[in-house]
């Protein structure tokens, strides 16, 4: 059972399809990074999961239970786009309003505790800045308060839409650490979208890449590491023969042929041993070097592409051998 699962999710606005046949799978305990270009449908997807708008087609399930249109799950807390803060109220009062609306038994205690959790303890009742109105908060403080609003009621699942936007490096790090702490200490499943890929890389256990309103690929952080590991690029006089030789002698390696007849070699390749093999077979090696592929490049390629991905097996329908290792 997934924490969040969508099946065939679609959304159109005035005939314009924003989301089409989206299948998303967030496992319990994941910190799931939802990545995509501007306008790819990330925020729309999150709003559909939160019940903020009705879907055109498809289904959303939270902890295995299907959600009715525009009916949020009580298990989900969210911070979608702006934090939704009342500017003329203090941080504590903002949390109290939501706590009362949720029917919490002791909203005062929950609100005070959450202010400490998100690093706004100076705004708790009796503290030095307890009366300060939220309109005077910095962007980072507003994001923290927004996170506290998402956490009130102790949700099992947290949806965060671009939570790192507008934060300085210190603020971003603090928020990242908080997300990880919530995940590890309270077991909160987190679905976070962001453009800032290197920030996501530091915390996410799983990724979903959306392109053109459709899920291009879902993969774990280990699969991402494998896809972005360093590899060898070989240019030689007889690429076909070299391919056959290396495949036979080093079966653990993954090989693919790039358009310019360069051979990409993934896996634990010994550069020297490869060179020796080819030379001994009379194949002239023009170039043999180690190349790096960063995650950003990997994501950008996928965001601009749109291959179908089967989430359970990890198999895919490659249309371009440059991106996927041969198995």
């Amino acid at each position: 059972m997934y924490a969040i699962e969508t099946a065939g999710l679609a959304k159109s606005f005035r005939g314009h399809r924003v989301i089409r046949d989206l299948n998303l799978h967030v496992s319990r305990g994941d910190i799931y990074g939802f990545v995509g270009k501007n306008g790819s449908g990330k925020s729309t997807t999150m709003k559909l999961i939160c019940g903020l708008m009705p879907a055109t087609a498809g289904e959303v399930r939270v902890m295995g239970q299907p959600l009715a249109p525009c009916e949020p799950s009580p298990l989900v807390g969210s911070l979608i786009e702006q934090p939704g803060i009342y500017p003329n109220l203090s941080a504590f009062d903002n949390l109290m309003v939501k706590g009362l609306a949720l029917g919490l038994v002791n909203p005062r205690r929950s609100a005070a505790e959450l202010l400490g959790t998100v690093g706004l303890s100076a705004h708790a009742p009796g503290a030095s800045r307890a009366r300060e109105k939220a309109k005077r908060f910095s962007m980072g403080m507003k994001q923290r308060l927004g996170l506290a609003l998402a956490l009130i009621g102790n949700p099992d699942i947290l949806l965060l839409d671009e939570p790192l936007n507008g934060l300085d490096p210190e603020g971003a790090r603090a928020l990242r650490e908080l997300i990880v702490r919530l995940n590890r200490e309270r077991g909160v499943t987190v679905l976070v979208s962001s453009h800032i890929l290197d920030q996501l890389e530091r915390i996410c256990t799983r990724y979903g890449i959306i392109a053109g309103g459709h899920m291009a690929r879902e993969l774990t952080s280990d699969e991402l590491d494998a896809a972005c590991a360093s590899y060898l690029e070989l240019t030689c006089s007889e690429p076909a023969r070299a391919l056959a030789l290396v495949t036979e002698r080093f079966p653990a390696l993954s090989l693919s042929v790039l358009p310019n007849d360069t051979i990409r070699i993934d896996g634990p390749a010994d550069q020297a041993a490869l060179g020796e093999l080819l030379m001994s077979e009379g194949i002239a090696v023009t170039d043999l070097h180690r190349a790096e592929r960063d995650a950003e490049g990997f994501f950008v390629d996928l965001m601009g592409g749109g291959e179908e991905e089967h989430p359970t097996t990890g198999a895919e329908l490659p249309s371009d051998p440059r991106h996927f290792p041969r198995r």
Partner: protein, 263 residues
Amino acid sequence: MLNYLRADLYRLRASGVLLGIALYPLAIMGLLVAVNLLAGAARNEWSMSSLVDMTANMGFGAGMLPLASGFAATYLVASDWTTRGLKSLLATPHARRSYVLSKIAQCALFAVVNPIIMLATFAVVPELAGIPYETVPDLASALQWLGEASVVCFGYAALSTLLSLLAGNETVAYLLLTLTGLGTLENIGQAVLALAVTAVPACTDIANAMLSGMLLPQARAVGMGLEALGLSAAATLRVTLAPLAWAAASTVLALAAFKRRTL
């Protein structure tokens, strides 16, 4: 619904709006008394005719009670549109229904409370300024008038809430509250009906029935003060039932409109 109502009242109190609603009649009457005293009207030469008539005239003749009764719900909805607070607030099953019903419940609450506050303020302030009323009604008459006034205020407040939910925008929500409370929207409606009758004389009876069922005639009736208590049984029934029908229709429409609204 009760949870959302509690949250709303907390927000109104914390933001100072609750205090503003309570002091609003004080400001009106205080200003009226101050202006007359400054104009040199000697205390023993200037008196007010009737407490209920004065309250009725200011409350409904000037639209102050309909405006005040709808203000709280409009303020909450309008600020939710601006701050996008709905995204955070609507986090439980059936939240949308509870949200709408809590606003309607507030309308009922303030529809009862506001006329009482206004009546009490209008009784106390002139007394403190040494300006007597010629006529002070008995408790039964005052309560009867308050009951009719509350029902009419409820109709207006529920209609304002529906319009603010449809508005989707803070400025438009307040604009519609003002136009509703001052009767401008209904005046426009009456003008349209008059044109329809001119164009299609056969619909005169229907138009008259629609006119008599509007909120404005009920507000005018209650705005007569103690004279409203002398209306015929049919007229009194209409004064009570028409606003309740408007409130019921506004509630149903608000629930339907908000149910699948994109936030």
